[in-house]
């Protein structure tokens, strides 16, 4: 098993765990953390791809650039989601999105 494959499988496994968490966990903080981790799993895959594409010991720079941009996006998205979740908690005193609320 090549080094690339180990990292790639780890990334996909992490992605699947996070997907599971988003669907099954109802606490908002867990959902937001899972989304954040999901981003990290893709970044892990991108770094592995950069390693696989390396030419003469120099890694492919394009996935690195994507990861850097992706981190910036993930930080702002997570911050916004956390702020919104806080607001929700302040309004309702709850930490979970209850089913059917505001849907009819």
């Amino acid at each position: 098993m090549s080094l690339f494959l180990i990292y790639a499988l780890a990334a996909v496994g992490l992605f699947a765990i996070c997907l599971h968490a988003i669907i099954t966990r109802s606490h908002l903080l867990r959902k937001i953390l899972a989304l954040n981790m999901m981003g990290s799993s893709v970044f892990l895959l991108l770094i592995a791809i950069a390693y696989r594409n390396s030419v003469e010991e120099t890694a492919d720079p394009v996935p690195h650039a994507m990861v850097l941009t992706g981190i910036v996006v993930a930080v702002s998205a997570t911050a916004f989601a956390l702020a919104l979740a806080r607001r929700y908690h302040a309004e309702t005193g709850e930490t979970e999105l209850s089913d059917g609320d505001g849907s009819t």
Binding site: G39, V62, T69, A77, F80, A81, Y88, L97
Partner: protein, 518 residues
Amino acid sequence: MIEAAIWVILIPLICGLAAFAIGGRTSRLLGLIGAGLTTIAAFLLVAEVWVNGVWEYSLGGWEAPLGISLRADGLSTFMIAMTAVVGLGISLYAVRYFALTPGPSPDPSAPLRTGAGRGEKSQATWLPSESYWPLWMLLWASLNALFLSSDIFNLYVGLELLTLASVALIILERERASIIAGLRYLLAAFLGSMAYLLGVALLYAEAGVLDLQLLADAELTGTAVQVAGGLMAVGLLLKAALFPMHFWLPAAHSSAPAPVSAALSALVVKAAFYLLIRLWFEVFEPASSIAVEQVIGVLGATAIILGSFQAIRQARLKMMIAYSTVAQVGYLFVMIPLAGSFGDPQDVWRFEAWTGGLYHALSHGFAKASMFLAAGVILSSLGHDRVWNLAGSAARFPVIYLSFGIAGMSLMGLPPSAGFVGKWLMLTSAVESAQWWWAVILLVGGLLTAGYVAIVLSQALQRDVEIDREPDPIPRIMTLSVFGLAVLSMLLGLRAAEPLEFLEIGAPFQTLITTVEE
């Protein structure tokens, strides 16, 4: 100045940031200037693409595959022009909307806020209009950036910007219902972005490039590409709210203020649809299969039927219009099996279905924006939007209901509306390609649409009804923008030749187009 395409991104971005920095009443002025200038730039771009064909630009002078390129072909420019006209209408409406109503509650029956001492205090001194203009300009900038970008990773960034701006706009009034809807939308949309991003990573691993044109030229096939395509498609379908991933849409679109609802339903949903169509017919064309296309079509058909039934059942006007969006999004995706690989790949009807679907997107953009803005007028003037209590209100705002009816005709696909042109192209394509089942769905969907439009109009047109409360007067500019958008959704059906020809510029199926012209 020649590069109009750069300005359709830069103008709303600069105006939005300036409006945010300066704030107060100036933000409204800056927003209006931004809307006007962006519309002018968009039409300069239309003229440029019409005369010179596909326009390309390498940011910073770095050519693809190293750099990021912008590209405006017929489809991109078509979407930018639609955004510009709808956006201008919404902006003019919003000027008076927020002045009229410092914060109408979309749900008067909602329980009072609890346990928010801190939130309560800031509520008193804070006006939604101050945040509206910067966010609306940022939304517009990210839409245009998305339509112009030709790099799949850059498109991911565009999608995320769009989500952030949309959610911030949904929660503008800081109502309990809109915070819940916004949060749910945010989680769904980020999940969609993550699936898309994983798809981008896999596609890069396979192809080694990010540029859409280079990916299209590579004619990718194989399992890895199919997985990547599947992930990107699911992510975008979640954002475009195709059944059964529409669960977040009705609450999010109906609990926002009217100008925001209009922008979300008319434009933001179309952005995800646009990107999916682009990827599907340019990059994943060789890797796609009839079975997958038919499944997407079935989801679209289910969305049409269930969405329309839900719309008929709704007691609140804004909720009805939001469910109507779920149904109309279904139409857009019925286009995929029609334009896909069913039958002979050299047949002309594939291109007909493709243009038909996009023309439907255009007509829905105008009609739905008009409907949501009309609902906003009714809600803020009557103080409620309960469908069964609208009796007799047509006498109060005849032009608003006239617009609602015209927009409804376009949604139903009655001639001579723009909706008719789109639906007609899709219908002929369904018949010519011997996929008659889609023709049935398209026609039944039209009948169901007529159902919910008729409910509203028949209520509103009742005579001799006591009105318990004198409605507030409506500013003329709001009526005008509602009416203007509805009329455009009709006029575009009378003059469809030029927009349809415009779509051909740089479109996929180039070989089919040349056979038609010969």
